[in-house]
Amino acid sequence: MRAIANNRDVSSLLGVPIRRVEALAWLGSGVICGCVFLLLPPLFKSIDQGTLTWFIIGALGGAIVGQFSSLWITFFASLTIGVIESILTPFSNSLQFMSDFRKMTPFIVAVAAIMWISRRRTVVLSGREMR
């Protein structure tokens, strides 16, 4: 799986069964995702496609911090985002805005992470020649 993530073409030349490994990756992530959504119903009054989209976009925040490569960083980043969001919930009166905008936490964290990741500007040259 790591070989394919690094270079799909070279992996196929080395004899890695690309399609099988990719199917396995989809299967694995599908199973994990399915298990997560089985755990969700008790937490929400109603679940529709809107809630699920919201959930996935929020979860992407944690994945971005982990740069799509580190499961541990993703796990702890998502946990931190969730904790920050919960801490911001009980504010009222003059700090009501913090409570109102608490759902923005994953997005703010994700945008900050992307800016940090790309703090040095690089130009990527294509590996192949463009015709």
């Binding site: 496609q49 919201w54 992407l60 971005i64 997005f107 994700a110 992307i114 790309s118 040259l125 015709r131």
Partner: protein, 344 residues
């Protein structure tokens, strides 16, 4: 040998601008065809369609500007932005707020709404300039989702006082004003078509000139564009600004189509993803793609859910059609790119 040398010398003397125009001419918005479509939309549609379809074509005119702005960024500059809906929402909010707060003519407040969206679009664009591809798509999606939260929290103005302009009770909601010369649905539709036409001409004007050539160069290879002396940062920002302005103006024009109490539904994250799906289905390499995308997402969708046999099925599953269309489009594009030996 002499003949060859002479022909080479002649071709070297030919004005390069004409050659470049010839290369890019077939790919921009043909003015003749645009005028025909414009006249058809202004005179034929209101005369031969009932009010239900005029309302759908009104939505189509608004959506075509938005789709053209997203297509321009993706197809002509190579920047995948899912944040166009945010600029659309900002344009709409500012236009409605100014419509209640001032007595300025409607076209002026629409332009002001577009300029406000441009300012924020550039502000978003500045940090996003450093990233590309997947990260740009994600950062813009995050910003669109963030903007949805902001708009749903502060709500759209509906005639109240203060910065937000929101009334305390539902019975006090005032209607959003339209221009005095376009108060009815048909005249407002014509006004929208004129607005969309102007936006398309503006985009095609930019594409056919220096910025368009610079964007084409950046799209093909950013490194080559840098090496050729193109100010990549400036032209990318210009693309963000133009796209945000178009989306902002579309939002401002959309404000007049909803008589009372604008809702967040048109500006949420699903709309952001839906927009990019229909834009890819419509085609991203010409501005006509924006028009086609708008046709798919408004008129075709309504046609399927209203008139076609088995419309109850389509009411539930019509949106899946766009997901399917997007998949087919992307798989086909990847195959074509692989055949040509170009990285998708």
């Amino acid at each position: 040998m002499t003949a060859v040398a002479t022909s080479a010398a002649t071709s070297a003397e030919a004005p390069p601008a004409r050659a470049i125009t010839r290369v890019t001419k077939s790919r921009w918005f043909s003015p003749g065809a645009a005028v025909v479509v414009f006249l058809f939309a202004v005179f034929f549609i209101p005369a031969y369609f009932d009010s239900f379809w005029v309302a759908n074509f009104t939505q189509m005119a608004v959506f075509s500007i938005l789709a053209a702005s997203a297509g321009l960024l993706y197809g002509r500059v190579g920047l995948v932005s899912l944040g166009q809906v945010a600029s659309y929402g900002i344009g709409c909010w500012v236009t409605i707020r100014l419509a209640f707060a001032t007595s300025l003519p409607f076209p002026v407040i629409v332009i002001l709404g577009g300029l406000a969206a441009t300012l924020i679009g550039v502000f978003i664009g500045l940090p996003a300039l450093r990233v590309g591809g997947l990260y740009l798509a994600l950062v813009t999606l995050m910003l669109a989702a963030g903007m949805e939260i902001v708009l749903s929290t502060i709500k759209f103005p509906n005639g109240g006082s203060g910065f937000k302009g929101v009334v305390a009770s539902l019975s006090d909601i005032k209607p959003t004003r339209r221009p005095s010369f376009a108060a009815t649905d048909v005249t407002y539709y014509r006004f929208l078509v004129v607005g969309a036409f102007i936006m398309f001409i503006l985009a095609s004007f930019m594409l056919a000139r220096k910025p368009g050539r610079a964007w084409e160069s950046i799209r093909q290879s950013e490194a080559a564009a840098l090496a050729a002396g193109i100010d990549v940062t400036r032209y990318k920002l210009l693309a963000f600004a133009l796209a945000a302005f178009m989306a902002g103006v579309a939002g401002g024009l959309y404000a007049g189509t909803v008589p009372k109490g604008m809702s967040i539904d048109a500006f949420n994250r699903q709309s952001a993803i839906f927009l990019i799906a229909v834009v890819i289905m419509g085609g991203i390499y010409t501005l006509w793609g924006g028009l086609l995308a708008a046709f798919f997402s408004t008129c075709l969708l309504k046609f399927l859910t209203q008139n076609v046999v088995g419309h109850q099925f389509w009411t539930r599953f019509a949106l899946s059609l766009f997901g399917f269309g997007l998949l087919v489009n992307l798989i086909q594009n990847t195959r074509v790119a692989e055949k040509k030996g170009v990285q998708a």
